[in-house]
């Protein structure tokens, strides 16, 4: 299964908003497969880390209560033009993903 990770940086009042979108099922473990009637195992992103030039700025803890294809947003207060913003995540089944972008 491919998990696409996308990131967008938007200049706002007071800094930059960093938005991360991951293609991920975020299964709760409560849903049943409509064909087999069996429960679909839990599968969700657990931790997502946002970095500025390699230093952690924010670290989010996610769980089954976050929607499918999560869109997570944080605000960076002192990112400058040319800085590198990166995001990385890991889920409960050992998958990981990341994305990187440069501040315009």
């Amino acid at each position: 299964m491919a998990f696409t990770t996308k990131m967008k940086i938007k200049q706002v009042d007071g800094g930059h908003d960093v938005l991360c979108l991951v293609n991920h099922p975020m299964e709760t473990g409560l849903r049943k497969d409509s064909k087999t009637g069996e429960l679909i195992p839990q599968h969700f992103i657990e931790i997502m880390t946002f970095q500025l030039n390699g230093t952690t700025v924010a670290e989010a803890i996610l769980g089954q209560g976050v929607s499918k294809n999560p869109l997570i947003g944080v605000r960076f207060t002192n990112a400058k033009s040319g800085d590198t913003v990166s995001v990385s995540w890991s889920d409960n089944q050992g998958n990981t993903g990341s994305a990187e972008a440069t501040v315009q």
Binding site: I47, F50, V57, V66
Partner: protein
Amino acid sequence: MQRRLFLRKTLSASALLLAGGAGALKSLVAHALEWPAALFDLENEPDVVKGLFGDTEITESSDVVIKAPLQAENGAVVPIKVSTSLPGTTMIAIVVEKNPVPYISSINLGESAGGFYSARIKMGETSNVTAFVSAGDKVYKASQEIKVTVGGCGG
């Protein structure tokens, strides 16, 4: 990787032990870089709050602002934005009272992060959504009721 798994397992086991003894709940998140499995096993909001913040007093504050729809047609995707102007904000957490797992998500914020967190969350039914903000040694909160027409938890 194996070490990581081992750490996670031992951590969650000890956290479960903590959760087992009522009143013995300590703040599980503060120093944990590992995913706090025990918090996601809790089924009601007061336990989650205790697990997150221990016995710290929590104050309602107008400096914590939730931006969310009053009514959500689809409980599977409810956009929530939490912002705060409180100085020294280190953590923002989102809790949905009536979800099977009330603890939704939280974010630890470093010095270069502003008091802002947005996520799209699932809601099983109409419920209060509470945002908690940890700033300095204190915890502040704000709540909003979101009406849900079609639930988004499970089948």
